[in-house]
Symmetry: D2
Subunit: 155 residues, 4 copies
């Protein structure tokens, strides 16, 4: 389907991944704005599609010889809500990699609308096996993320 819907997983732009997210009724609440928890969903979509565009499958997150099927779980989030999101908005989730640890990543994720920052999150994720045991990040993902890290440090 990649060819039919070319930008469905967003795009790598320079040293960032950018995913457009449309705001639908489901995302808003009766205060007329995007419900705060839904920004975390948008960020998770961004992370999923960032890894997808790097060409890394779920089974490729750990090294193949060490390789249990693994999944990233969220350990810590800090998020600032700066401006409200609204129905019909097109938001952009801009993701960079702030840190690569042994079994973990720290991602910085900005939510923008027409270039204006409306929320900023720092998300720490850990790679764990199905049983919940931390797994060392494989060489492939480590290599693929390397060039995004320096950028984030400089910013």
């Amino acid at each position: 389907m990649r060819e039919k819907w070319p930008d469905l997983a967003g795009r790598i732009e320079g040293e960032t991944h950018v995913l457009p997210v449309r705001v639908y009724f489901e995302d808003t609440d009766c205060a007329g704005v995007v419900y705060h928890a839904n920004f975390l969903k948008f960020c998770e979509r961004g992370r999923s599609d960032f890894i997808r565009l790097l060409g890394i499958e779920h089974q490729g997150l750990a090294n193949p010889d060490e390789g249990e099927p693994s999944v990233f779980v969220v350990r810590h989030i800090e998020i600032d809500y700066l401006k409200p999101g609204r129905m019909d908005d097109v938001l952009e989730i801009v993701t960079t990699c702030a840190e690569i640890g042994s079994a973990s990543l720290v991602l910085q994720q900005d939510v923008r609308r027409d270039g204006t920052l409306i929320a900023r999150a720092k998300v720490s994720v850990v790679l764990v096996s199905r049983a919940g045991k931390p797994q060392r990040l494989g060489a492939i993902i480590r290599g693929a993320l390397q060039r995004f890290v320096n950028q984030a440090r400089e910013t």
Copy 2:
């Protein structure tokens, strides 16, 4: 925790199960009312707690000798939305069993507010194994549901 929060799973009242559901911000949308898909969530909470109060564990849904771990999946829903739900409402999800099939159930689920019907759903669920194969309903759940069926037929 049953003792500490005695009505957390609702109550069997006569031939029905009744679960109270509070409407929070997360349930509403920017039109100021409960988002329509969330009524299906409320109904699923009602079904889960109905089975819980019947004392049936997930592993007890099929017969123990035939017994693969099984789960109910939804096959068909018809739902009428009659009145809007609103922030802070206390809704009651009133569930009866309309039909017991070999591997399936049909449940009627009313959403009420202060006795007024605001939505009515008919939900067909099928018991399937992890691999998706339909499983015959076990004797225990069949027996436990029997008395709720006749009632629904008469209504």
Copy 3:
């Protein structure tokens, strides 16, 4: 943003609207499949983007002279779940207009994966004012939807 993300609202293809929807973690449940209520969210995204691509603003749903700001609310849904959706799937929400009433529409919405039907919904919506009063559909939306109706009738 239309130019930057050209297919964000899907596409009109022949007599249908098609919206691609990626399945993310948020959409799935612990049974390993897309949670049934989330198909209604996907369908609502399809309806929103269908109307968006027809070039109709929310304020343009009623006739301008009669024109209170109006919104479509869901009155009735019938949905068949045929196959499970799964993490990372690209689903397509295919929407046609089955009926145009005075203040209402009936839409048929298919959820497909690689051409295979996995769910089919018939959704009745009514145009209402903020106060909840039904509003006659404006000439613009009526005209724009006309060519999608015949198609649905023939199918």
Copy 4:
């Protein structure tokens, strides 16, 4: 409905508010655990019911003479995820007030299961008018929250 479902909004216990939250299918994801963003929903339910049990209506959040209808919006969240939540769990959302500002509150919210801490959040909310302008907290809510603050400071 308060009498019919006495603990629906949880309980004040000592210097904290405690809300039980059942984990349903809708809350989990295909990794088999509670989806991380849903903990923010649970915390928001806790905050809503805390204020409800204090007897404060939405229109009573600001002072009546200054009084525009106001709502709390989230400005900042820090959350640590310590252990996974699972299907059928009964979680308890334990809320205390860490700080009372002029137009803002900082709440500490623990998610516990059988006394074990599984997530801990610090949530800053600001009272704003419909137009988004910060509003001074009214005397009533300020008074009602006072005794919860000291406790949190000591912990």
